[in-house]
């Protein structure tokens, strides 16, 4: 049941290489196959049995398998792929652009499907090459050089630590399979070091505070499709790694290192939200806000409380919907005016009313307004954090105050107020294509704001394993 998720991107890449002449055909083939794969995920959801505590369903040879958590991450990947492909329709790039996008999707699917630590590592790193080439070849400014360089070097340096850890675990346990690793009883001080290696590798991907520099750079320099993928999928690889390996495998160490994680995430939340207040580039602001939100999610994941952990996982999915929508909206602005600086924008409500409506909706989602999926996730997260530690809870509540400040400020600056002098006063609203890109995202994040149980019922049985 899970092999087709590997095969759809491969088929589409092969078709694109060998059977297409025009860019229209390329788009048609890639869209068709990505929508097939999305339909496949919906079928998986229908067949998924979430009433019993049967982990890793659709298990094939103990190599591939999914549980409730990874099912929703796979849904996120496959839901975003058609949107991302469609968003690059007008750009008339070459085949390489689409092939790189599809290969990123391939490796991201693979991360969530595979039940092997080495396989996880390979697919985790396999994203690097297409993403590097993507930023390097299709970036917009000269700054992309240092951005892509930072992106790849940070990740390599972190993941080599994970690499050593995997080999050490293999020598210790005799297998890198997920289920075998769970059954082994780890003893001694060495597991603390192993946990640290895991943690450093994954915290670079989140990113948490000392290693966060690459993310805003990469977001700013990559094209819209790239930043949507970065925010929507690539950041989730790190938190998925935390859920699967750090928390479930080494529960003792997670408990031991909880103060460290709390400190780092609190610093990350406050620092990045203050950074949002002082920046001009909209993409950079959204990137920093996504750092803050991901740190909040990580804070919730390590609370060792069922509500907190479920809230953290839910936060990841909801953040994937909302921040990718925001990046698409910024892409809309950039396509029209070729700038991302806030200073040039103002009073867009008169020329772009539908844009303003959608931007307002996403901003409300970003500040966790009741009725959006962001509200559910922050609500559950804060319940978990307050149950564990009131002091930390009070500190993390600063994000409730700080994130509306900058979000509403951006909203006000772009959409309302006096009309900007730098921009021609022409009616320039969203096209049908752009509206269709954004519509599913709006639908999903409002729908899951009202009916969160659809996701939570999948997640909850699996999240029980994360409690030590």
């Amino acid at each position: 049941m899970l092999y087709p998720l590997y095969l759809y991107p491969i088929f589409s890449i092969l078709c694109i290489i060998f059977c297409t002449r025009t860019y229209k055909q390329v788009l048609f083939i890639s869209l068709t196959f990505s929508i097939y794969s999305l339909i496949h995920v919906y079928i998986l959801m229908l067949l998924f049995d979430h009433s019993i505590y049967n982990l890793y369903q659709f298990n094939t040879n103990n190599i591939l398998g999914i549980d409730g958590i990874s099912l929703w991450f796979i849904w996120l990947v496959n839901m975003l792929m058609p949107i991302v492909i469609l968003s690059s329709v007008k750009l008339n790039h070459s085949k390489t652009f689409i092939i790189l996008l599809l290969s990123i999707g391939f490796w991201c699917n693979s991360v969530f499907i595979i039940l092997d630590l080495l396989g996880f590592y390979i697919s985790f790193e396999g994203v690097l090459i297409p993403m590097y080439l993507f930023i390097n070849l299709y970036g917009t400014r000269n700054r992309k050089v240092s951005a892509s360089y930072n992106f790849i070097l940070y990740t390599i340096c972190g993941s080599l630590l994970l690499f050593v850890t995997i080999i050490y675990l293999y020598l210790l346990v005799g297998s890198t399979n997920h289920s075998v690793l769970y059954t082994y009883s780890y003893t001694g001080n060495i597991i603390y070091y192993l946990w640290l290696c895991f943690f450093i590798c994954l915290m670079i991907k989140i990113p948490m505070i000392p290693f966060h520099i690459w993310l805003p750079e990469a977001h700013v320099e990559s094209p819209t499709a790239g930043s949507v993928l970065l925010a929507g999928i690539l950041l989730k690889l790190g938190s998925y790694g935390f859920i699967r390996y750090c928390i479930s495998l080494f529960g003792v160490c997670s408990l031991y290192f909880t103060p460290l994680i709390y400190t780092i995430s609190i610093i990350g939340i406050i620092y990045s939200l203050f950074a949002c207040l002082s920046l001009w580039d909209i993409k950079k602001i959204i990137a920093y806000s996504s750092i803050a939100h991901m740190n909040l999610a990580i804070l919730a994941l390590f609370t060792n409380d069922i509500i907190g952990i479920v809230g953290g996982i839910y936060f990841n999915i909801s953040h994937g919907l909302i921040s990718s929508g925001l990046f698409l909206l910024i892409g809309v602005l950039y396509d029209r005016y070729h700038t991302r600086t806030i200073l040039y924008f103002g009073g867009f409500v008169s020329i772009m009313p539908i844009f303003t409506l959608i931007f307002t909706l996403f901003t409300l989602g970003n500040i966790a307004f009741p009725g959006s999926s962001g509200f559910i996730s922050e609500f559950l997260t804060f319940i978990g954090i307050f149950k564990d530690n009131i002091f930390i809870g009070l500190f993390s509540c600063l994000s409730i105050i700080l994130s509306p400040i900058f979000s509403l400020w951006i909203l006000h600056k772009i959409c309302y107020g006096n009309f900007s002098n730098y921009i021609p006063k022409l009616y320039n609203d969203l096209t049908v294509k752009e509206f269709n890109l954004l519509f599913p995202l709006i639908l999903y994040f409002i729908f899951f704001g009202f009916f969160p149980n659809i996701i939570l019922s999948f997640i909850q049985p699996c999240a029980l394993l994360c409690i030590y």
């Binding site: 390979i122 697919s123 390097n136 080599l160 080999i167």
Partner: protein, 469 residues
């Protein structure tokens, strides 16, 4: 076997001595003709060696001795076949220029390393080692049009002959201790005396003479304390000879150590550790201070040899690593040679993205592979190397290897940045066309590199069957 070599060489020599006028009647280009003949000779020798694979007795790792001098073994045959394939690839892809004598040197070199790998006698080893060395000296000194080339060639000759004397001294020393020049007898003697409390002094003497032998051998593969000749020489030589010099001697010497004297390895493991850590550090940290592409690859090869050296006792891991190393190195050199035979600076391949997109992709994927990014071939090499270090509990080496690969990854990726974004001032913006044969070779090697994940376990299994059992 020896008779066949003699016959081939004499026929070949007669062919070479014939005056130029005689050729002009039949053939317009003497060098091209000799190149084709050499390729044919190598193919025949390849087929002749393949005959051994079907001999029932030689399979399953049995060793056959001829008069105590030569031995034949399935491992040696596979290594020789690998070397022949590399030579054939080099001869097919690269045109060797105007000198026709160079092919005779190559053939003599082939004979040298064949005897080196096959011999079971220290004296024969020394003689074939000398033949192997002489031909390499000739190869490095045959072109004398640059002062840089002459000085580095002479340097290589002097230093190499000095270390060869150390190698000879080591052999004499070994004869003095054991009283035998036969490798099998020496092995029996060492098994009996080494770490035996009754023979403490003999053990120390044995360590000393093996260190002497190792100095002679390790000089040839440019391990770190003896690496100074390598970057200069590789840089100065024409690209087609550099390809030969960077692949064949390393493979031969490493295979020789692996096959014949790896039983002493864990007794002098600290020397090996020191040497390989030093060369990983030198190789990885010098990559940033280099402007010339061949110098860059020379330092990269020093680092790779540092990675390989500690895993030599595990023969299948070693073969796995060396195959991947050879694929990547040959691919890079063929790409560079295809762009232009006279390339020297890294800046002259800048902006390859505009000149030839497919070639750019091949080169960048090879660089990613050298940097050790997972789905590519280089990752698996690194994986098994570090697996071997950790399974022998050498944690210091692991840490150094990890730091080295972090640092070197940055420099490899900076090359990708150069070829994708920088502007090229040396060659203006035009479409680089490469010949058919080199495009085939490059595409095959790149395909192996990119899709290595599909058959990495199959390759491992095959190597396990061939070399380990």
């Amino acid at each position: 076997m020896i008779a066949i070599y003699g016959l081939i060489i004499s026929i070949y020599g007669i062919f070479l001595i014939l005056p130029q006028q005689l050729y002009n009647n039949y053939l317009s280009n003497k060098v091209e003709h000799i190149r084709k003949l050499t390729i044919l000779l190598y193919v025949f020798y390849f087929l002749y060696l393949c005959k051994f694979l079907y001999m029932y007795n030689i399979q399953y790792g049995d060793i056959y001795y001829f008069d105590g001098l030569c031995k034949i073994n399935i491992r040696v045959i596979y290594i020789e076949l690998t070397l022949l394939i590399i030579c054939l690839l080099i001869f097919i892809t690269c045109n060797m220029g105007a000198k026709s004598e160079i092919y005779l040197i190559y053939i003599c070199n082939m004979i040298g390393y064949t005897f080196l790998l096959n011999s079971n006698d220290m004296l024969l080893i020394f003689v074939s080692w000398e033949l192997f060395n002489y031909t390499l000296y000739l190869l490095t000194n045959i072109y004398t049009h640059k002062q840089n080339l002459i000085s580095s060639g002479i340097k290589y000759f002097l230093l190499s002959s000095f270390t060869t004397t150390l190698f000879g001294a080591g052999i004499c020393y070994l004869y003095g201790i054991t009283g035998s020049i036969n490798l099998s007898n020496i092995y029996i003697f060492i098994c009996y005396t080494l770490n035996n409390p009754m023979y403490v002094y003999t053990t120390y003497h044995l360590y000393a003479c093996f260190v002497l032998i190792f100095i002679g051998l390790l000089f040839k593969i440019a391990i770190s304390p003896f690496h100074n000749w390598a970057p200069q020489l590789y840089d100065a030589l024409p690209t087609n000879i550099t390809i030969y010099m960077i692949t064949i001697p390393k493979t031969v010497v490493l295979s020789f150590i692996c096959l014949n004297i790896s039983y002493i390895y864990y007794n002098i493991y600290y020397v090996i550790l020191f040497v390989s850590i030093l060369s990983i550090i030198v190789g990885c940290f010098s990559l940033g201070h280099v402007w010339k592409i061949k110098r860059f690859l020379a330092y990269s090869s020093i680092a790779h040899v540092g990675f390989i050296l500690p895993i030599l006792p595990d023969i299948n891991l070693y073969m796995y690593y060396i195959y991947i190393y050879l694929i990547l190195t040959l691919n890079i050199f063929f790409i560079i040679y295809a762009i232009s035979p006279n390339i020297s600076y890294i800046s002259s391949i800048n902006g390859l993205y505009q000149n030839n997109f497919v070639l750019y992709l091949c080169l960048s994927f090879t660089m990613f592979s050298l940097a050790g990014i997972p789905p590519l071939a280089g990752f698996y090499a690194k994986y098994f190397a570090i697996y071997s270090y950790l399974s022998h509990y050498s944690y210091l080496l692991t840490i150094v290897a990890i730091i080295g690969s972090m640092v070197s990854a940055g420099y490899y990726i900076s090359i990708i940045y150069n070829i994708s974004l920088k502007k090229n001032y040396v060659y203006p913006r035009y479409h680089i066309k490469i010949s058919n044969i080199s495009s085939y070779v490059i595409s095959i090697l790149s395909t192996i590199n990119i899709f290595f994940i599909l058959f990495h376990d199959t390759l491992f299994y095959i190597l396990y069957i061939i070399f380990y059992i």
